[in-house]
Amino acid sequence: MSFHPKMSYDATFHKSARVLGDEGAPFTYTAENRARLDEIVKRYPADRRRSAVLPALYLVQSQQGYITASAMRHVAEALEMTAADVEDVVSYYSMFNRRPVGRFVLNVCRTLSCALNGAERVTEEICAKLSIKPGETDPSGTFTLAEVECLGACDRAPVVMVNDAWHENLRPEQVGKWLDDLRTKGEAAVSGCHHVVERNTR
């Protein structure tokens, strides 16, 4: 029953936006990833294995692209924490994918300095070219579009982070050709951070 005459106490009232993780296939680290995790854990005090949860989750993501419920349980076992605590962490940090993503995740910085230089137009052009909205993956499974907050590269606005690499100074009018280049040339079409580029070309 309800305590309020106009609010029925039913399933729609306490509706949670919480999305339960995909159970996924049974997960275990590859021997190589397990060895890397064992190395990383040594950086922290012996009774603080939990400190390695972020690197442990990055290893899951590099192994299978996104983080499933079975992977969270595996991480929990490896780090001697509860599966709920791992899910707590996964659901908080924005860089962990909880659903399968495309080959290229296009993270368009939408915060002020990038927006002042056309980031909103970049997002619009990507949406139009791929017929998807932010948060979606195109039917070919090549691109996932996401709008993200300040990437810390405001002097090279607008910036798009493609998986783990930066593409700087992407003008809205360049978007169409750039997406084609990504399809055909792959990661070679990503400019990279200008500091890294300058260092490697000198």
Binding site: A52, Y92, S94, A115, R121, G135, C154, A157, G192, H195
Partner: protein, 430 residues
């Protein structure tokens, strides 16, 4: 002032240990290890070094507050660099990683810590790789590890990668994240200097702050203090972005004015445009108007002018910028980044964003302006960390200086300043 921190950023091999050693690298660590730890703290206090992360708190004091009775002790270097408009630590770590490592080692020696964790934001993977290579090189040459340079002092430095959370830049949230939890702030006091990482005394210092320490040890506190105005000594990195011709990181003495930084260093606003307003210290600080451009870009002068130097992220806005749009853009950021721990901030940032979006879309009412002010007043000062105050600043500062723009939106039922660089239609789903 000639660049000091960024003197060698144009050199191709500046990031290598060999280059660093050829340019007096690790000599400050060598000097530091011949002194007593307390002498280093006194030296840093005498230099007047103030934290470069945003608050401008004296670093020597912070180190002095570290409880020297409990062990182990830690240094947590804040390389989360997430304040919108800030990209200076990125440059330092990318081009001069050994300076940071040397700063970490000297800091550890001063407070009696044996481990420093560099908490780097998840989006800086390319920087993390450079740092880790530099750390490996430093171990190999005996600048880190056991019995450093034969002094008996042990120090480890590790890089810890975050995973996308602005709040991780708040010092206690950073420690929570290092402990493998959500990056949410702790109640203070106790401060990290007493109860920090794993409950042990911890100094949390920004990258640029730690990079200044070797300079002070090598060249002395007096030299350092004399580089800038009183209580604002040393070299400072400024990040200039937004509507300027040459956005970038510029190093200057804090004697420099905002006008010099914008016009001389960054080339001024684009041709045919005029300057409308300036955010002098990252998105969390009040805006300054064109008639305040002659303000010295020091901690104290900017504060006197009614804003804060913050992380020295100068975002320049030209006359095409709609201030309601600006507030909406930044509240989208704060709404997304609110960690959710304190109710006023978690709920309030969402409300503010919804109202701003409504006004920007031309569907606002005059009473919304009072509502914005009221909600802002109910967030500021009512949260565990400074995020709440930061989040309402874009609303309060635009309402103060540009109330007429809000009113025009409401009266005309549309955005009155739709710039060509903005979306043709409202985008974004979250």
């Amino acid at each position: 002032m000639d660049p000091i921190l960024t003197k060698f950023v144009g050199e191709p091999n500046a990031f290598t240990l060999d280059f660093y050693l050829q340019h007096e690298g690790y000599s400050a660590l060598r000097t530091a290890l011949t002194k007593k730890p307390d002498e280093i703290i006194e030296l840093v206090k005498a230099s007047g070094l103030r934290g470069r992360g945003g608050a401008g708190f004296p670093t020597g004091m912070k180190w002095q507050f570290v409880d020297k009775k409990a062990t182990p002790r830690y240094i947590a270097c804040n390389a989360d660099e997430s304040e919108p408009g800030t990209f200076k630590d990125h440059l330092l770590m990318e081009r001069n990683p050994h300076l940071l490592i040397e700063g970490c080692a000297i800091g550890c020696y001063a407070i009696g810590a044996t481990v420093a964790y560099i908490y780097i934001r998840g989006e800086f993977l390319h920087v993390q790789r450079i740092l880790e290579q530099a750390i490996d090189d430093a171990y190999a040459k005996g600048f880190l590890g056991k019995n450093i340079l034969g002094s008996g002092f042990d120090c480890d430095v590790f890089v810890h990668r975050g995973a996308g959370a602005y709040e991780a830049g708040e010092e206690t949230a950073l420690l929570e994240s290092l402990e493998g939890k959500r990056a949410q702030p702790r109640n203070k006091p106790p401060f990290p200097a007493v109860v920090g990482l794993y409950g042990k005394p911890t100094a949390v210092n920004n990258v640029e702050t730690l990079c200044n320490v070797p300079l002070i040890v090598a060249r002395g506190a007096e030299w350092y203090a004399a580089l800038g105005p009183e209580k604002n000594g040393g070299p400072k990195l400024y990040c200039v972005s937004g509507h300027v011709k040459r956005p970038g990181v510029y190093e200057a003495s804090m004697q420099v004015t905002l006008r010099e930084l914008i016009n001389d260093y960054a080339g001024g606003v684009r041709d045919g445009r005029t300057l409308k307003a300036v955010i002098p210290g990252g998105s969390s600080v009040p805006i300054l108007m064109p008639d305040q451009l002659d303000t010295q870009a020091s901690f104290d002068a900017i504060q006197k002018a009614g804003s804060l130097l913050g992380s020295a992220a100068i975002v320049v806005l030209d006359d095409t910028t709609c201030m309601v749009w600006l507030a909406e853009n930044l509240l989208h950021f704060y709404r997304h980044e609110s960690c959710g721990k304190c109710t006023p901030c978690r709920e309030g940032t969402d409300w503010l964003h919804k109202i701003l979006r409504r006004i920007e879309a031309g569907e606002g009412e005059m009473r919304d302006l009072d509502l914005l002010a009221s909600i802002s007043g109910n967030i500021a000062g009512k949260t565990l960390c400074a995020f709440g105050d930061a989040a309402v600043t874009p609303v309060q500062t635009t309402l103060k200086h540009f109330r007429h723009e809000y009113e025009a939106h409401i009266k005309e039922g549309r955005c009155t300043l739709p710039a060509e660089w903005r979306a043709r239609q409202a985008v974004g789903t979250h």
